[in-house]
């Protein structure tokens, strides 16, 4: 690769200064989501047109990461777009709007209604979901609290899934449930285990945190002991133990403590979601700033890097994945996002929505599972609108260095809080901090940071 064939275009490459070292820079190609770290001498060579002073090996690294371009080699492709080929692999069943808890920030505002998806609607939803071109279909029971459905409903649901598997052997149908765990019993666990469910519990931390934000609806009593009992039950039936933990004003400053608590309870994976400003979250005292969310996530990054927790921690793995690979597997951090693309949601009446954040708003209904085909739903104007929300079209994102890394998600939250989905992510300021933080971490402690991508027991077993 002769240096004369190589070109550095400063107008296409951003130079982001390191936070603590004035002599190091992150060079980012925002178009293809690639980056390298250079010292001042290398930056001067690039800016001064002295590429020939850079070693052959280092020049190759710069070309591979699209920081300099070669007239004789192919450039790396950026994140792939899936606008033209939607194939939902996740169907979210909003089994009920009812809930036995009264979480202060519930984005679904659950507990207002006492409805339940009829089993006929659920069966129609299963049949609808397997129309997708995707081979793998995840059926997720969600709510409200899905275990309000009752054991008989759950068994009927599983029987229909069995029929679907038999009639469609080409499909890989998987069952999942997100529950607060307080209604979990041995009977439920036997059904969940027999049908291969993957279960995730919602828990925001130790009792003194969780009880303040996730009390029982009736009487406002403590729910935490019941959730801890649910963990024990899941363990007894050898069911998966994952958790979703919402980061709020009640736990953000103690998120390291929350992570240690969840790890000790035996969860093997957790996702720390930033509280949404929608549903009951809107205007609540639970809301935190993107800076506070960043500081909270940093605490957990450090814990995992120090090997003090075993759990896999999302969204840290997704952030690193987007930094290190052009493939975008996580539907909530890509452009366009997964709405009406990789996911569809059904409400208790069988209406179809682009994703689970948009349920119960008639304006976002795409049709229903009884009278529409999946193809019709995916070809609708509203579905297209979501798939056409790509980061390069969003004012405020077009010139951002990190746009191809975050995808400016989530459009549903932007739409519900700002009334216009063509606005930058609500977590914009968080993304602008976390990506350079993780890049600097990769530079300073490469192996420890890369370990955040994989489960620790995998490392320990030598796989």
């Amino acid at each position: 690769m002769h240096p004369d064939t190589l070109q550095f275009r400063p107008e296409q490459i951003a130079a982001v200064p390191f936070s603590k070292r004035p002599d190091r820079w992150i060079l980012v190609n925002p178009t293809v989501a690639s980056w390298v770290i250079v010292d001042q001498e290398a930056l001067d060579c690039l800016r001064g047109g002295a590429i020939n002073k850079i070693s052959v090996k280092q020049r190759e690294l710069l070309v591979r990461n699209s920081i300099i371009t070669s007239s004789t080699s192919n450039h790396r492709e950026g994140p792939a777009s899936h606008i033209m080929s939607p194939a939902p692999h996740l169907a979210v069943f909003h089994v009920t709007d009812n809930c036995n808890l009264a979480c202060k920030y519930c984005y679904a505002d659950a507990g207002r209604e006492f409805n339940l998806m009829s089993i006929e609607t659920a069966k129609a939803g299963i049949d609808f979901a397997i129309q997708s071109r995707s081979r793998r279909i995840n059926l997720l029971l969600h709510g409200g609290e899905p275990l309000l459905c009752g054991a008989e409903w759950l068994e009927e649901f599983c029987k229909h899934v069995k029929r679907a598997r038999k009639n469609h052997p080409e499909k890989d149908i998987r069952l999942r449930m997100q529950t607060n765990g307080t209604l979990l019993t041995d009977d439920y666990c036997r059904i969940l285990a027999a049908n291969g469910f993957h279960v995730s519990l919602s828990l925001d931390g130790p009792k003194d945190i969780n009880d303040k934000v996730r009390p029982f609806r009736v009487g406002g009593d403590s729910s935490t002991d019941k959730v801890i009992n649910a963990v024990r039950l899941l363990k007894k039936y050898n069911l998966s133990r994952a958790a979703i933990s919402t980061v709020t004003s009640y736990n953000h400053y103690r998120l390291d403590e929350v992570a240690l608590f969840l790890d000790k309870l035996g969860f093997s994976a957790v996702k720390f979601n930033c509280v949404y400003g929608i549903g009951r979250g809107a205007g609540s005292d639970c809301l935190i700033t993107p800076q506070q969310y960043f500081n909270a996530i940093k605490k957990v990054v450090q814990l995992r890097m120090d090997d003090r927790i075993k759990m896999m921690v999302a969204p840290i793995n997704y952030l690193l994945q987007n930094l290190l690979d052009p493939e975008r597997r996580y539907m909530c951090m890509k452009s366009p996002c997964g709405a009406s693309n990789n996911v569809l949601s059904f409400d208790a009446e069988g209406k179809v929505y682009p994703c689970d954040d948009l349920l119960n708003t008639a304006a976002f209904s795409l049709g229903d599972v009884f009278t529409c085909t999946m193809d019709e739903v995916l070809r609708s104007n509203l579905s297209r609108k979501f798939r056409e929300r790509v980061v390069n079209r969003i004012t405020g994102c077009k010139t951002c260095v990190w746009r191809a890394f975050c995808g400016s998600c989530c459009p549903a939250q932007v739409l519900l809080t700002k009334g216009d989905m063509m606005r930058p992510s609500n977590l914009c300021e968080y993304y602008k901090r976390i990506f350079p933080y993780l890049i600097e971490s990769l530079y300073n402690e490469k192996i420890k940071t890369l370990k955040l991508l994989i489960r620790r027991d995998k490392l320990e077993s030598g796989d």
Binding site: E41, N138, A242
Partner: protein
């Protein structure tokens, strides 16, 4: 002169360094398949 960069595939190969949750092989996925593509 220092230039530092990492690419997952170039470094390890995506098969050797599986970065997504696959519940059947790797244990639970707290986000219910939001990260799996067909």
């Amino acid at each position: 002169m220092e230039i530092f960069g990492l690419r997952l595939r170039a470094m390890l190969g995506s098969e050797d360094w599986d970065v997504s949750f696959d519940p059947d092989n790797d244990g639970p996925d707290p986000d219910h398949g939001h990260d799996t593509e067909d």
